[in-house]
Structure formats: C-alpha cells, structure tokens
C-alpha cells in the first residue's frame, strides 16, 4: 500500500471550492430563500408578515384549480417527451448514418433553432397556428373546416416539441456514434430484418442516451415558461406561468414560492423514479 501524504488530502477540497461556492451562491441560497418564503404568512392588505404558516401548501394541494394546472403540466411535459422520443430517435439514427457533408449540414439544421430565442419561436408558432394562420389556411384549401389550435394544449405541445427536439436528438446521436456498425451488421447476418435489428440491437444500446434526452426534455418542458405563456394564453396555464402570475399579478409571493417548491419536488421525484427504473437496468447491461 502506498500511503498518501496528508498535505494532499486538502487539494480536492481546494479544487472543488470555487465550483461549490458558485453552486451554493447561485442555486442553494435562492432555493433556501424560496423555501423560507413559501412558509411566510401573506395578507392581501399588508403583504408578507413576519410569521410562518403551512396554509399556502394546504391551499395548493386542496384547490382543484391548482391541481388541474399541475396535471396539465405533467400531461404536456409527458406528451412532449414521448413525441420527442418518437421523432428524435429515428432522426438521430438517420443523422448518424449520413455521410459527411450532409451530416454536418443536418446537424446544423437540428441545432440551428437553439440559436433563435424561444420567445421568437413561440411568436412564430402563434402566427402559424392562429385562426387565420398558415395551418388553418392550408386546411381550408383542401376543403377541411378550420380547427382551433392556438391557446390549446396541442399548440403548447407542438411548440415545445419543436424547441425540445435538439435536446433529445443530441444525446441519442452521441450514443449512436459510439456504436460499432458491425454489431448491427451481425444482427442482419443472423437473420434479423432491419427493423428487428434496430429494435433488438440498436435501440437497447442507445437507451442511456435516450434516457438522458427524456430527462432533459421532461424537466425543461415541465418548467417551460415562454411557450405556455404565449401559446396557452391567459386562461390555459402551466406551472411556470402560474408561479409568474402569483408573483407579478396577485403579488402573493409566498403562494408562488410554495407552488414553485411543489413543482420542483414533483419534478425531482418523477425524474429520480424514472432514472432508477430505466437506468439501473441499462447500466447493468451496458456497463
């Protein structure tokens, strides 16, 4: 055994120090303040009082209005994640199989939208999906009756999928890059059709990439603000827009803080549970 000099043992702490300080200052501190805020008493006439209460949490979890919004948030985020996975996996596969000038071009096409502000893209979608938008014009052109898209969950999901797709494609694509193409070829030579080889051989190997993609997309969708704000309108709220309203319209900061904490905890629980479920299996298989 080699004994380490004791002076060395402090260097990991020193090295991790700046990052840890930054993390504490930028994330832990505001979070702690928010938690404290969420327990403060609020009075409509006088504002925040110097006393503590659980009433905001109780109000949120017992009110149909808030629960409805939470369910919608969950539904929209789950739907967005599912659609992103269904579109993103084949997209990443095709991208990985492309040869080089095309691969670079299409990678840029996929990443490109990230360079445009989400607000701009949300406005773009609201123009496309509006009652006189391009989509409805096209529907009328082929003789179908126009549909109401803007200010519906469908609009939010469509726009979220558009924004989130790169976050799904890139981790899957990275996982595909690491794949030995001969492994897929081996499946073919053993009699597997292209589809079977994809399902039985390629997909399980990129499951970790897909898992991280799903986690990112779900997390970002559940806390998305600009898209539900612009495409959901005043009435169709999601968690983040609800928090915004409580803070800036109702001025009930403690209630907003309580909602934010509930969303954070729920999000965390869902993601951890999902991670445990899928990852332990995948880790054992892929090492």
């Amino acid at each position: 055994m080699i004994s380490r000099p004791s002076s060395r043992s402090s260097s990991p702490w020193l090295l991790a120090g700046p990052g840890a300080l930054f993390f504490a200052g930028m994330i832990l501190l505001p979070l702690a303040l928010t938690v404290i805020l969420s327990f403060r008493v609020y009075d409509h006439a006088t504002g925040i009082k110097d006393a503590y209460t659980l009433s905001h949490y109780i109000a949120v979890v017992t009110d149909e209005y808030y629960l409805g919004i939470f369910w919608r948030t969950l539904r929209v985020a789950a739907m967005t994640t599912l659609i992103c996975a269904v579109i993103g996996a084949p997209e990443a596969y095709i991208l990985a199989r492309m040869r080089n000038p095309w691969r670079s071009i299409f990678l840029l096409v996929i990443i490109g939208p990230l360079l445009v502000s989400v607000v701009v893209r949300a406005f773009g979608w609201s123009m496309l999906l509006g009652s006189q938008g391009l989509v409805n014009q096209a529907l009328q052109l082929v003789g179908l009756s126009p549909v109401r898209l803007l200010y519906t969950e469908t609009a939010i999901v469509i726009a979220l999928v558009h924004v989130m797709l790169p976050f799904m494609v890139i981790p899957i694509w990275t996982a595909l890059q690491k794949l030995d193409p001969m492994v897929e070829a081996a499946a073919w030579s053993l009699g597997a059709s292209r589809f079977t080889a994809l399902r039985r051989v390629v997909l399980p190997q990129v499951s970790l990439g897909m898992l991280s993609g799903c986690l990112i997309v779900f997390g970002l969708s559940a806390s998305a603000f600009a898209i539900p704000g612009l495409l959901g309108g005043r009435r169709l709220k999601m968690a983040a827009t609800l928090v915004y309203d409580e803070y800036l319209h109702e001025l009930n900061w403690p209630l907003g803080a309580a909602i934010a904490i509930i969303v954070l905890v729920a999000n965390l629980l869902i993601m951890l549970a999902y991670n445990r479920m899928v990852e332990t299996r995948a880790r054992r298989m892929l090492g």
Partner: protein, 359 residues
Amino acid sequence: MAFLALERVSKHYGAMAAVDDAALTIEKGEFVSLLGPSGCGKTTTLQMIAGLVEPSAGRIVLDGRDITNEKPNRRGLGVVFQSYALFPHMTVAENVTFGLEMRRVPRSERIERVREMLALVQLSVFADRYPREMSGGQRQRVAIARALVIAPPVLLLDEPLSNLDAKLREEMQFELRRIQRKVGTTTIMVTHDQAEALSISDRVVVMEQGRMTQVDAPYRLYEQPSNAFIASFVGKTNLIAGVWRRDGMAGAVDIGGIRLEAPSADFPAGTPVTLSIRPEKILLRKAGEGQLDGRIASRFFLGSQWLFTLETPIGTITVSIPNQGEEPPAEGATVGLDWSPASLRVIASAMAHPGGGTA
C-alpha cells in the same frame, strides 16, 4: 457446378481498389482460407460475400442463385467478425441464441442447442456474463459459437482465432475442421497466419493489394509459389536474383558469375529471374563437398530445429536443419551447402505480379 462463385468482383473506395477483379469458385463443403498481409482486402472480400459491403462490379453466386444484391439477412450465412461484433447488452447465452430466435426455433430446442454450442467453445460457465466482462479470447469464442449455432450453409470467419493462445487455437482449429467435415459447411476463413492457413484449409487463396494472386492447395502453394512475394509470405525462403541460362536439357541460373543447376523452365536465355529455395531443403556438408561453401554467421536453436544464416558467394542464405540431438557446426565455421536441383524454384522477376493492370 461451384457452390459459391465470385465472378470478377471488385470493390473501389474512391480511386483505391480494396478488392480488384477477384474470381474464385468454391465447392460445397470446401474449407478455403484467404491469406494475405494486412490491408490486402480480405475483410472486404468476406463482407461482400456476407452482403455487408456492396461490390462495385461483378457477381456473387451462391448455389446457383445470384446473391449480389440480396440483403444480408436473407443470405443465411454465418459470419464471425474481425471485431467480434457481439451484442454488448445481451448475455453470452442471449448472444448465441439470437440467430435461433430469428429462425423461429422453438424455445426448448434453442436452449439445448445453445448449451451444446457453449460447451463446444468451452464457455458453459460464462453463459450469463455480458461480453464486456470477458477476455478477448473468450469473446472471440462467443462470436464463433454465435455463428456456428445457426448451422449455416456457408461460414465466413474473419480471423476467428487470432486472439487465442496456442493450445486453445489448435483445439479450435480442430473443432472448426471437425464441424466443417461433419456438417459439410462450406467455410471461408480469413487469416494472416500462414501456418494456420496451410494446416486446416483445402485450398488457400493468397491476396496481395486487392488481387487474388494464387489459389492452390496448401502443399502446392508452398512448393510452387507463383511469385516471389508468395514464396516469402508462405513459409520462409531464400530469394536470390539471377539470370536464366539454358544448359543442355536442364536449365541453369547465373548469379554474379556462379552458375547453379535448376529445373528446366520455359524462359528465353537472359531473362532476369528470382531463385527461391526453402531453408529446410538445404543440407549442410563438410566444406568443399556441397555446391557452394559458406561461413556460418549466426546460429539459433529453436528446439525442434537449428536455424543458420550463412555468408555465401551468392549472398546471405538461411538454412534450417532438424535437431538430431547432437550439436551442429559452430558460428564462424565454414561448411558446404548442398541441395537437389529439383528443390530450386525459378520465378521470372517480371512475373512477380501476374495479371498486371492498374493498382
């Protein structure tokens, strides 16, 4: 009629020909080795047969059926990949059973056949391991088991034994040969180990820079290499440059003023030729009693034989003699070299690359 035929098959990557105009016919049940140095196109040839690389030109015919454009999963060939290409997310048993599943073999039979096959490659205790938990040689055997278990009509093996130790390699060679004899599987094996190619094949195909330069039974390949490259690649040999002379009925070769008797050959006098003589065909005699005298420059003991390098008037010559249990002449001694003229092989220097053409 040939069971498997490559008809003028080529594969070009840009301007480079990985495989150039390959023609080969293989009979049912034959064991053929593709032998050649690294990068000569062996893997490419094999993968074209497997359907994983599309030929740029030519036809591949299997059992009378043109399979040039057939999908790999419809060819039904067993392939062992150079990189093994095991399924990393499946256990050893799942890897081996995959091909049977694809063939819709009933579950009970599947289990039985996988068990037998794992016993054959001596991996029974590893059935539930994942490939990454195994050594290179063990993975290689999983790859062999996975290809053999589907009992394919044609087996394509890309350096299937390269990672095994000498003893296991010999056992596996024996097993491959046994299975191949028993089931009558037509086998094509890629190797760059000439000893392996010679020992287990019915025929050996030598490839050089994408071209198949000689296709012959191992014995004939060794005794009658068609060019200097093959002579030196397949076994050891001494290559000596000279000029062809006619000498009555027999031939002779002039090497810097020294005339050596050689088997007759059909060259015009004055052709530059290369003489090839195998180290084991030269005998050591007392000085002055052989065809040439030489001084022993070095001497190596290899167990079953002694290996000498000798300085002679025709250049440095390697000689090997079997170990008979007594010590042969020492370094620095002068000895006579003798051989039977029939064991010399004369190769026209210009014939080094028959077929010629573009590279």
